[in-house]
């Protein structure tokens, strides 16, 4: 489980190995957690962005090195959720990809960071680029599908 509960303000931390299957397991937990704690309407964008960032951290950051791990921390303070993902790689020049537009339709890669910036309310990298911090905002009750 991600955490037993997530009240108005709560934190949690998970460390996963550099395997894509661990991303699936974490995201399944997240899906259930979103349903249980009032984030159902945000479940898809949250999971999507988490997957993009974790995939990048594992494949590009840690280069799938099984000895390296990825740390995920989440802090919820409604209506905000802050997610921070840190890998053990050397980082990358995130400044060079800022403002990147939609790639040509026949390109099979290059959409991960674009998806991240499209679905998260705010995105920030640390200077070296091996840590990304994301902010999500809970939708107002009237727009939410929570019962």
């Amino acid at each position: 489980m991600i955490a037993a509960s997530m009240p108005e303000q709560a934190g949690l931390q998970r460390v996963i190995r550099s395997r894509l299957e661990e991303v699936d397991a974490l995201c399944l937990d997240l899906r259930v957690h979103c349903q249980e704690h009032g984030w159902a309407a945000m479940s898809f964008p949250l999971e999507l962005v988490l997957r993009e960032c974790l995939n990048n951290a594992i494949l590009h950051g840690n280069r799938s090195d099984p000895a390296k791990s990825v740390t995920v921390s989440m802090i919820c303070r409604k209506p905000w959720l802050r997610v921070q993902i840190t890998d053990e790689g050397d980082g990358f020049d995130w400044r060079a990809v800022q403002g990147r537009t939609v790639p040509d339709a026949d390109k099979t890669c290059g959409r991960g960071l674009l998806i991240t910036s499209t679905y998260a309310r705010r995105v920030r990298f640390n200077p070296s680029g091996n840590q990304i911090t994301l902010w999500f905002q809970q939708l107002p009750k009237s727009n939410s599908s929570d019962l």
Partner: protein, 111 residues
Amino acid sequence: MTANTIERQSGLCRVRLDGDLTASRVPELQALLKRELDQPIEEMVVDMTGTAMLDSSGIGLLIATFNSVGRKGGRFRIVNAAPPIFQLLQSMRLVNRLNVSGTSDVEVTHG
């Protein structure tokens, strides 16, 4: 473990995705599609009824498949995309390119 299925009727190929199309699952589906593309193809339909999540790796595979089918002179389309997936493909400007229809659309089958 998922079990994607493929139905063949001559040059018509319908791929039913079982579960999410995300990075860890791309290699398995890619191998399956590669085998299909070794045969002549007129149309490939990817049915996303069972798919709740699609990430950029999955999108990459769909584009690569579209490109391959096109090179062989075939048509490609995606049906029954859930609303969040349809919106994702819309935001990436791929709905028209990949001929995507959503779960709310009525699919008309000819023949």
